[in-house]
């Protein structure tokens, strides 16, 4: 017992326990995901539906620049799905708050940011699983990325990082919402414009001029352009750097804001 008390006060000791706290919470969230199989099926089914819907229902009506629409679509769906994962971040935290678990965590000598970091990290792990599933489904419906394996991994890491940074904003929503239903409802006015008014599903050139100005420059379009360019081996300008930059800025702003909210969440 004595050794742990001493190590607590050193910076290294505090950091070690902060990592341990984050790992404990991440593990706890992942166990919960495994225990509710219906939730996993739903989480995976939704993007699969999007793939099938846009590939076979809307796809015929959309002309994509360059290669086939399916090659345009799948990188976009991947970006959209990883961003949609953040809705789960908001719901998960709102549920923990409503059930009184956050109350218990706040009375424990654990790192303050561990509950939020554990949540965003476990949702990142969930995103990795979804990314693999959608990649497989994508290949099954005719997706043929030509950018090479290394670029595919680069694109995957880029979108996971981008979605992770954004999810801190949704963590804030989860803590600010009165319950999980409201939390879910609150995410939609945010998540629909940024994913649909973007280059995820359709080329931006087909939109009206006023919308193009937004759709072309907003962060999600940059992420979609970077991921698409990397996966297909096509030129994408500075989109990768813009995506990384947006991610870092989001994280730098949203993480402290969410943590501040956590400190005073009732």
């Amino acid at each position: 017992m004595n050794t742990s008390v001493q190590s607590r006060d050193s910076l290294i000791g505090r950091l070690r326990w902060a990592f341990s706290d984050v790992a404990t919470i991440t593990q706890r969230n992942l166990i919960a995901v495994m225990r509710v199989p219906a939730a996993i099926v739903f989480v995976i089914l939704q993007p699969v539906m999007f793939v099938l819907l846009f590939r076979y229902v809307f796809g015929g009506a959309i002309t994509a620049p360059g290669s086939s629409y399916v090659n345009f679509l799948i990188p976009g769906i991947l970006v959209q799905t990883t961003i949609f994962g953040a809705v789960g971040t908001a719901i998960g935290l709102a549920e923990d708050l409503a059930r009184g678990l956050i109350e218990r965590f706040r009375a424990l000598p654990m790192a303050r940011m561990a509950v939020l970091a554990g949540r965003t990290l476990s949702d990142l792990v969930r995103n990795v699983v979804i990314l693999i599933v959608i990649t497989v489904i994508g290949f099954a419906v005719g997706f043929r990325p030509t950018g090479g394996v290394i670029a595919y991994f680069q694109a995957s890491f880029l979108m996971l990082f981008f979605a992770f940074c954004l999810s801190w904003g949704f963590a804030f929503i989860g803590l600010a919402a009165p319950n999980s239903e409201t939390a879910q409802a609150m995410t939609f006015p945010l998540i629909f414009p940024i994913t649909f008014a973007s280059s995820i599903f359709v080329p931006v050139e087909t939109m009206p001029g006023w919308l193009q100005a937004f759709a072309n420059n907003q962060p999600v379009s940059q992420a979609a352009a970077a991921v698409r360019g990397l996966m297909l081996g096509t030129p994408h300008g500075n989109a990768t750097w813009w995506t990384l930059g947006y991610g870092i800025v989001f994280l730098a702003i949203l993480a402290p804001v969410a943590t501040r909210r956590y400190r005073r969440a009732a």
Partner: protein, 318 residues
């Protein structure tokens, strides 16, 4: 070191920009190794007090020291010295009993081996070994409260906060929990217990305060409280409300407390229940008044409130 496990001075907490005064200058001194009761109805400020003392919530003003540490200046040191269980702090329904306790152990910075060993010990001590591998959502209310209490004990804290630990439990589960709490106190732990039940405070607490609208309206031992109040309530039911009010003068002098008229029933809080009951019957019989019912019961929190404040323990919508 002080002789008090918990010291609070003039704690004030308002909600909704000062509109609701949840706590209006509450001070407590909780001696080491006792159960200290916070008695009051819903909305009286009990839970707010517990949340402030357990570092979950910051007070607007006032000072509090728990286990020798200031709750604002040394919150982490306080958190290492306390356990929290009750109606609002809860267990994770998706995790098994074992996983819940191991998680709390890890978050209290026990090693993995320590956390697992402690989890097994506590499951056994609380009769949950068989249920330990099942998700907590399959537990009964009583099992959940025991797991919740076990979670509060993982780090062997010297100070425990139990926030309405038996609210909503069946009588047997309540009895079981009382025995566990008594054993904890016998081992030297200090307990701050909040409750709506006079019977529970009477059974467990060495000292208590009664809260009403964020203020302490009475304090002392349970015996003090009851000595002022009387130990038995005699409930006399007349044929009608009119009968009850018009014949009250016949029995009014049998109690020194204010009688409570509820419909056709008159309630007298007294010290010698059977004696007063006999007097009531005799007097009303001599006056030829029909008595529909006569009952003796223990005083409830409502009776305490009526006696102390002149109003019933009303629920305040938070």
């Amino acid at each position: 070191m002080t002789q008090f496990a918990i010291e609070a001075r003039n704690i004030v907490k308002t909600f909704r920009d000062g509109e609701v005064r949840a706590l209006d200058g509450v001070s407590l001194n909780v001696p080491v190794g006792q159960v200290f009761g916070l008695l009051g109805p819903n909305g009286s400020g009990k839970t707010t007090m517990v949340r402030i003392l357990s570092t979950i919530l910051a007070a607007d003003s006032g000072e509090a020291v728990v286990a020798g540490h200031d709750v604002t200046a040394a919150a982490d040191a306080v958190r290492r010295s306390i356990g929290l269980a009750g109606q609002y702090a809860t267990v994770d329904e998706n995790l098994t009993g074992f996983e819940n306790l191991r998680m709390i152990g890890r978050l209290n910075h026990l090693t993995k081996a320590q956390a697992s060993a402690t989890a097994h010990e506590l499951l056994e001590r609380f009769g949950l070994t068989d249920a330990g591998q099942r998700p907590a959502k399959t537990y009964s209310g009583g099992m959940r409260r025991r797991l919740d209490l076990a979670a509060a004990l993982v780090a062997q804290p010297p100070v425990l906060f139990l926030d309405e630990p038996t609210t909503g439990l069946d009588p047997q589960s309540r009895q079981d929990l009382w025995v566990i709490i008594e054993e904890l106190v016998a081992s030297g732990v200090t307990v701050l217990l909040t409750t709506q039940y006079l019977e529970e405070a009477d059974r467990l607490a060495s000292q208590l305060v009664v809260l009403d609208h964020g203020r302490i309206i009475a304090e002392g031992t349970p015996a003090d409280l009851k000595a002022n109040l009387g130990t038995t309530v005699v409930a006399v039911t007349f044929a009608s409300h009119h009968d009850a009010t018009s014949n009250l003068h016949l029995i009014r002098d049998l109690t020194k407390n204010e009688p409570n008229i509820d419909g056709a029933t008159v309630e007298l809080t007294v010290n010698s229940g059977p004696q007063v009951a006999a007097d009531v019957i005799r007097r009303l019989d001599q006056a030829n008044i029909a008595v529909v019912g006569l009952a003796l019961r223990e005083p409830s929190l409502d009776d305490v409130f009526l006696n102390l404040t002149g109003h019933k323990a009303e629920e305040v919508v938070a």
